[in-house]
């Protein structure tokens, strides 16, 4: 049996761009994004689904990329933290995290952002409690979460105003 050499070609879209790469079937999606596609914005912390740093959007839904195999992403659409900004314009959540001291070392930030983008897509007017529940699966060891919650509420308000005002 040649299971060590068992590889498959994986075709997927990441942040709107199509990729096709061979990868060992045992490779996690997080390692595939970082090592094969060189998209190192997705961070790898605990590698057993506890810390939330590796959270990506899989077909628009948040998921732990360390708890998926890259081969499972074949034919699917992934969004990572690199896909949130529009060129040099930060996503409103990214700008708000900067304004509210919502990050310090930045390790948890990619997972926080993807998780909170899903929250604001589902619920454009979350309460502080909703935000806390949403990030209950994302560990941050330096900001103390307060800035992240404040930033999310601020971004939500700006995004609502933007949606109502301009588009």
């Amino acid at each position: 049996m040649d299971s060590v050499a068992d590889t498959r070609t994986i075709e997927l879209r990441v942040n709107g761009k199509a990729y096709s790469r061979p990868a060992p079937v045992r490779m996690t999606l997080s390692d595939f994004l970082r090592h094969e596609l060189k998209l190192t914005g997705t961070h790898v912390g605990c590698e057993h689904g506890v810390c939330g740093a590796c959270t990506i959007l899989f077909d628009g839904r948040s998921a732990r990329s360390c708890l998926m195999l890259a081969v499972q992403a074949n034919g699917h659409e992934i969004t990572t933290v690199e896909g949130l900004a529009n060129g040099k314009d930060m996503h409103p959540l990214q700008a708000a995290l900067s304004d509210h001291h919502g990050l310090q070392c930045g390790f948890c930030t990619p997972g926080m952002l993807t998780t909170l983008v899903e929250l604001l897509n589902d619920n454009p007017s979350p309460s502080a409690e909703d935000v806390r529940v949403a990030i209950s699966g994302n560990l941050c060891r330096c900001t103390g979460y307060e800035g992240i919650v404040a930033a999310t509420l601020d971004a939500a308000q700006k995004m609502r105003a933007g949606a109502g005002g301009r588009s």
Binding site: M27, E47, L69, Q72, L119
Partner: protein, 292 residues
Amino acid sequence: MKPPPFSYHDPETLEQAVELLATLDNAKALAGGQSLMPMLNMRFVLPDHVVDLNRVSELSGIRRNGQTIEIGAMTRQRDLEFSSEIATACPLMSEALTHVGHRQTRNRGTIGGSLCHLDPAAELVCVAAALDAVVEVVGPNGRREIPFAEFPAGYMSPAIDFTELVSRVTFPVWPRETGHAFVEFSRRHGDFAIVSAAAMLLLDGAGRVSRAVLALGGVGAVPLRMHDVEAALIGQAPTAELIRRVSETCRTVEAVGDVYVPASYRQHLACVMSRRALETALSRADRSAAAA
């Protein structure tokens, strides 16, 4: 922290999946991956073959069928959480799901995966025990149904063969007047419950208990049904004093201890969680229900 080498199979039909499990040595079925993937990353399991069920679309779905609700094994916890069908027919499950991990894990995790992993602290396992779910499994010899009381063979070990797959879980629908409650104690939201309790109470026209269920998760090696408590409630007027007294009997339940939580603390929580679950279920039970 990388998975060990294995061969990967991604069948599209249940028949193909069953065939693979029946013919491959040391194969493991991969459902939502929220338990198996950590176990692979930590090399607690070393399968030669992984049979991924995520492309088997016939294993997903929620269907109301008269007085039962049938759930495909690969139905995501998220889809159950947001299902209006589940909210109506099985509100105990809706409430329990808010305690299951986090949004990111519920987006992938499945009901069949949770039941097969059979962690005694898992919320869906406790719900299945409380509601006497029926688990349908498919193997090389066809389909069979297992009442949930017979499903756990032991700690984290379902009573199914290596060549069998859980295909569907069926829950009975209780009358709309039933009061339900799922409560748990954990150190942080989304952590495994140290102790959880699920209760269902149905009252008759005279305000006495006509049907009662109490199940405890996290206490023992398998989820526990507290049949003595249920029997002590049926036919009685559910006073605060009665609920306190029957909950107190849970203090003597056989409990497991570990380095973090001694057995005596689990017994204490069994008592407190039982009381809270029964009180909440009672407060939600419709007392105007007609005896007929």
